[in-house]
């Protein structure tokens, strides 16, 4: 018996329900479908729904909470000594048990753990069977009710459509639930982090070294979580990226909308789309392998000391990545300016460039500002390029030739590799994530509001 088996049994049951209800609806009116309120298949749909909804609900509950409940039971059943030993490291204990259960690990010697694993195994099997019988019987009850209700005057279609409507609403709620989930999980873990590290230290501290020592008497036992170097690094790389993407993106949008021939537009626009579609990991590879050495060598040639993982290389490549973003949003903003304004300016004897800089761009400015803000938000949240090209050292520097680190890099560094879930080190990643989320969300809301206001002005 496995979870998927339960699922398939339910689906089978639903198919049976569909066929039976459909047959029965035809039988109650002796095949004269005109007498039925709804089409035969609606009775079938209704019956299938009656089986699936309660059955899947049980299965979902079991999948979500079953394991946790069993683990709780198993841990509670362990001798007090072991419970005390792992008092604040329950996850470790559970991992030990899980290892035995899943791989039948032969290295485990502790009798209690082995017993616990055994207990876990048997409880899990029991739970599985319980879930199966419960969801199957719920399904059967649903089947029975549905068949019973299949009468000529039963409004199966309406009921089924109500269910469908509920499904539609449920889907829409998932989008909100995702946001809530993000906010919830980030906040929850961050609060735990801030219980250990004061918020002020995190936001204003100048030293970032999250490595917590294993024993309290070692040097740097507590780690320090001053995130200012990360904020500064993020800011610098985003700034560098915008210095590349801003002018190039805006100018190419202007050129493509105002000067370029149709043929050039037909080539350039897809090219920009390709640039936008290249995965960020590819940009990261390009930054680390081509641009960074190129910059370092050029720097060497010019007598500048450019680190091989410089903020400059990462920011530059990130700028390339953002060009199509700035360009297409600016393009939209500029083309949204009514043609009459352009004609009005040209008719006064303005040159095209005067028309662009003095009329079109000012008129499109809110849209362009919105585009830049969205681009900045993209740069702040970008991960792979900086992970691969910017380095790990939390340098607090204003020199773009040095290596810096960013919020996203540290999140990746903190959460990949070996980790314990509850340490301040791991939790700090969520605090960084929260900062990232708040900043990008703020930028987005602000930018979208500007853009929307601006659209309304010309619609």
């Amino acid at each position: 018996m496995t979870n998927s088996a339960i699922f398939f049994v339910l689906v089978l049951l639903a198919l049976v329900a569909f066929a039976t209800a459909r047959q029965r609806s035809l039988r109650v009116v002796d095949g004269d479908t005109a007498k039925l309120h709804s089409l035969p298949r609606h009775y079938g749909y209704f019956a299938a729904t009656c089986v699936l909804v309660p059955g899947l609900l049980v299965l979902a509950l079991w999948l979500m909470f079953g394991k946790s409940i069993i683990e709780g039971l198993v841990v509670n059943g362990l001798p007090d000594a072991i419970q005390a030993e792992y008092a604040d490291r329950i996850t470790l204990l559970l991992n030990r048990i899980r290892l035995v259960v899943e791989n039948a690990s032969t290295q485990e010697t502790n009798v209690d753990i082995l017993a616990a694993a055994e207990r876990f195994h048997s409880l899990y099997l029991k739970g599985l069977w319980a879930a199966f019988s419960l969801s199957a019987s719920f399904g059967l009850v649903g089947l029975y009710t549905a068949i019973n209700r299949t009468k000529a005057d039963f409004r199966a279609r309406n009921v089924f459509e109500r269910v469908l409507n509920a499904l539609l609403i449920l889907s829409s709620v998932i989008a909100i639930a995702t946001t809530l989930g993000i906010v919830g999980s980030l906040l929850f873990e961050s609060l735990r982090f801030f219980a250990e590290v004061p918020l002020g230290d995190f936001l204003f501290g100048l030293k970032w070294s999250p490595q917590t020592a294993l024993r309290a008497d070692q040097v740097g036992a507590s780690g320090s979580f001053g995130a200012v170097p990360l904020f500064a690094g993020t800011f610098m790389i985003s700034l560098l990226a915008m210095l590349v993407a801003g002018p190039i993106g805006l100018m190419s949008a202007i050129y493509l909308t105002q000067y370029a021939s149709t043929r050039m537009r037909r080539i350039a626009k897809p090219a920009l789309e390709i640039l936008a579609g290249v995965p960020t990991v590819v940009y990261g590879f390009f930054a680390a392998l081509t641009i960074a050495p190129l910059f370092r060598d050029t720097g060497e040639f010019l007598g500048l000391d450019i680190a091989s993982e410089s903020a400059l290389a990462a920011g530059f490549v990130m700028g390339i990545m953002i060009i199509p973003f700035v360009s297409s949003l600016s393009d939209d903003a500029i083309t949204a300016v009514p043609r009459s304004l352009r004609d009005g300016s040209l008719a006064l004897g303005a040159t095209p460039s005067e028309t662009i800089t003095k009329v079109l761009v000012p008129a499109a400015l809110p849209g362009i500002v919105g585009a830049f803000l969205l681009a900045i938000s993209r740069a702040v949240g970008e991960t792979m390029i900086v992970v691969m090209a910017a380095g790990m050292q939390p340098n607090l520097t204003a020199n773009p030739f040095e290596a810096v680190t960013t919020v996203t890099v540290q999140i990746v560094a903190l959460l990949t590799g070996d980790q314990e879930f509850d340490s301040a080190k791991t939790l700090s990643a969520f605090a960084l994530g929260l900062v990232l989320f708040v900043i990008t969300m703020g930028l987005n809301i602000f930018a979208l509001r500007i853009v929307r206001k601006y659209r309304e002005a010309y619609d």
Partner: protein, 256 residues
């Protein structure tokens, strides 16, 4: 009052093509100072297209090709040595829909003089703006709020602002492309009165849909039909005793 009768602009046998579409077929007419020429005719008859040839606004349409000869003060405006920027400063244009820039009233009017460098000082510019607004009959309405945005004015005021904007560049010819079609009757009356006043000093061509308007504001009328110039003459003559049957049919409302 010298040389009133010498043509300011003259078009000879002008043809306009949009790709394969022959939109204007051999138009010849003359614009004179102190005179308003009305171009009338049914939609799509080529009158707006022709008007846009006079300050080369058709240049901005890639597929558009103009043949024939158009002169301003006896100079061919399509000659290579003619500078389109200057030409457009000398031949101003007012559009169908008021299109003030999203700037202050002052900046709207000052836009042209600024780009062309017509003012040497701030006071100079102030004066140009004030004069233009006065000529456009808008000064009294806006003199206390020159810094408020031009887009906040009413439709009629916006159109007069656009006229002021065109005047501020000190043009010699003003082209108006159905300047009242987006305005209510009261605003239309004001703009019409303004056109009548403005003809002193400028050569004006106005494209209009409304024959009443043509009769009210113009001295000369040209009737366009399907790209042809059917009849050209004094406004009173065209409206009272048209020589061509097509003109008569149009004026009496049989088509159009």
């Amino acid at each position: 009052m010298t040389q009133t009768n010498a043509p300011k602009m003259a078009a000879k046998d002008v043809h306009v093509f949009y790709g394969d579409n022959h939109a204007v077929k051999g138009i010849s007419l003359e614009l004179r100072r102190n005179e308003v020429m009305a171009l009338i005719g049914p939609s799509g008859c080529g009158k707006s297209t022709f008007l846009r040839c006079l300050n080369r606004m058709n240049d901005t349409v890639a597929s558009c090709r103009v043949e024939g000869n158009i002169t301003l003060d006896n100079e061919d405006i399509y000659a290579p040595k003619i500078d389109v920027v200057q030409l457009r400063a000398r031949v101003g244009m007012v559009f169908q829909k008021p299109n003030p820039f999203p700037k202050s009233i002052y900046d709207n009017v000052a836009y042209g003089p600024r780009i062309h460098g017509l003012a040497t000082s701030r006071t100079d510019l102030d004066e140009i703006v004030a004069t233009a607004l006065e000529k456009a009959g808008l000064w009294n309405e806006v003199k206390d709020r020159l810094e408020s945005p031009g887009t906040a004015l009413s439709g009629g005021q916006q159109q007069r602002l656009c006229i002021a904007r065109a005047i501020a560049v000190n043009p010699e010819v003003i082209l108006m492309d159905e300047p009242c079609s987006a305005l209510d009757p009261i605003a239309t009356a004001k703009v019409e009165a303004l056109i009548d006043e403005l003809k002193e000093g400028y050569a004006i061509a106005i494209v209009t849909h409304s024959m009443q308007q043509a009769a009210r504001v113009s001295q000369k009328t040209a009737f366009f039909h399907m790209g042809d110039l059917v009849e050209l003459g004094d406004t009173t003559q065209i409206f009272t005793a048209p020589k061509k049957e097509r003109t008569r049919d149009y004026i009496t409302g049989r088509f159009g």
